[in-house]
């Protein structure tokens, strides 16, 4: 059969578009560093990344945010990350046990804190009511991260239990895929309150959008956040980034974004 002129020209065009749209090769000598980071780090780490990039222009740093449990599963299945910043220390430890992360690379970079957060338009005052905000009849939905796989979700449930309101408020709980989505549920107005990371409530983009009450840190197990360098990472940039996160300057920024920093 004679090939159709029009369709072959069309295919050539598509092939040309495919070639042209391919990513340009990275600058010569740049070393790639891919980081998987818990969603509560989004704003703090963006600022940290800016500083790191300024100090290390030779490193091509790429950060992916998501749920720690999700990253854990992905890394087990060969996800191409060099450094994993989890929202807990359990996942990094398990990666070390599985031989997927280098043994002595585990480091604590911060301790997460949780707050009861309501949008700016809410008539409720969390500073005055504390945890009882969640029992108000006007609060019909309380957004938390999914406690099945997000450390912040587990902390939220633990806090609700230890403060003695879990049984009364549990029918109102809605679960975000990670702490970022739980925050978005409240921010968008769909949920009237949430238990979210202080680091998100303090983010510049969100600070004026809501008010919060910090949940006493005795009310839930410490959200110690640890990172590991993964076994597949090339030496160099990953260790540099780890050292940077433990520097005085990085600790100052993490503090400013609502993390306690380990001594």
């Amino acid at each position: 059969m004679k090939p159709h002129r029009g369709s072959s020209r069309w295919l050539t065009l598509l092939a040309a578009a495919l070639v042209l749209s391919a990513a340009p090769p990275p600058a010569a000598g740049a070393q790639k560093l891919t980081v998987a980071a818990a969603a509560d780090l989004r704003f703090a780490l963006d600022e940290l990344a800016t500083q790191f990039r300024a100090a290390h222009p030779e490193v091509d740093l790429a950060i992916t945010y998501g749920s720690s449990g999700n990253f854990f599963a992905q890394i087990q299945n060969g996800a191409p990350f060099d450094l994993f910043l989890s929202a807990d220390v359990d996942y990094p430890r398990r990666l070390i046990t599985a031989g997927l992360a280098s043994k002595d690379s585990l480091f604590l970079y911060g301790v997460g804190r949780i707050v009861v957060w309501v949008p700016a338009g809410s008539p409720l005052d969390p500073a005055a009511l504390g945890i009882r905000v969640l029992e108000a009849p006007s609060v019909r939905h309380i957004a938390i991260a999914n406690p099945q796989h997000a450390p912040y979700g587990r902390a939220a449930v633990a806090a609700l239990r230890s403060l003695g309101v879990y049984d009364r408020v549990s029918p109102k709980l809605v679960l975000g895929e990670n702490i970022g989505q739980a925050f978005e549920f409240v921010e968008s107005g769909a949920a009237e309150a949430g238990i979210v990371a202080l680091s998100l409530a303090l983010a510049p983009a969100a600070r004026s959008h809501g008010r919060y009450w910090e949940v006493p840190q005795e009310a839930y197990p410490k959200i110690e956040q640890g990172g590991v360098i993964l076994a597949r990472a090339p030496a160099g940039p990953a260790a540099q980034f780890r050292a940077f996160l433990l520097s005085a300057e990085a600790r100052r920024i993490l503090k400013q974004y609502g993390f306690s920093v380990p001594q």
């Binding site: 749920s67 449990g69 999700n70 854990f72 599963a73 338009g121 019909r140 939905h141 957004a143 999914n146 099945q148 796989h149 709980l173 809605v174 679960l175 975000g176 895929e177 549920f185 968008s188 107005g189 769909a190 949920a191």
Partner: protein, 224 residues
Amino acid sequence: MDWQAIGLSLRLALATTLVLQVVGMPLAWWVAFSRRRWKFLVEAVVALPLVLPPTVLGFYVLIAIGPRSPVGALYARLTGGLLPFSFGGLLVASVLYSMPFTVQPMAAAFGSVDRKLLEASWCLGVSRAGTFRRVVMPLARPGIATAAILSFAHTVGEFGVVLMVGGNIAGVTRTVSISIYDQAQSLDYTGAWHTSLLLVGFSFVVLALTYSWQRRAWMLWQPH
């Protein structure tokens, strides 16, 4: 296996299919027969969910049905309830999301009915509604059934939109696809494996039935 989630998905899919049969049929009729010049605009809007990422649809639906939007506020005033994180909210999202799967097969089926038969029926004094019921419906039945089956299966398979607007509440918005996601996230690979296998089987059977129906593979006598 999370039977509660499976049951919920089936209920959601059934409700979505029913709503779409009612809402989609007049729309498909209009798309098939209207001679308006701006008909292409309506067709484009109906087909949007085919190309939009579910995140876009889910994001807008969440905002549109939330208490701060006019739609959400009206719903709250009428019913005293709120749409986000409820079965009703998921239903709204699913109806929008599966709209093209109902309207396109139906419109194609209506459009392929021989116009001469319609005109003959009208000339014989049968009303438009009567013609639709007695001439168009029987001839377009395979298309209408395809629309129902595809909408049903598509809703069972929905994930992104539900993740965006559902809030993952057991028995209310945790559909089977979300349940599989949760199982995989919490490293319950056995559970994820079993539920996924069930969905693969279900989807295959549904599609096989649809195609066999279209080819009339099971009819012993082939009409010519």
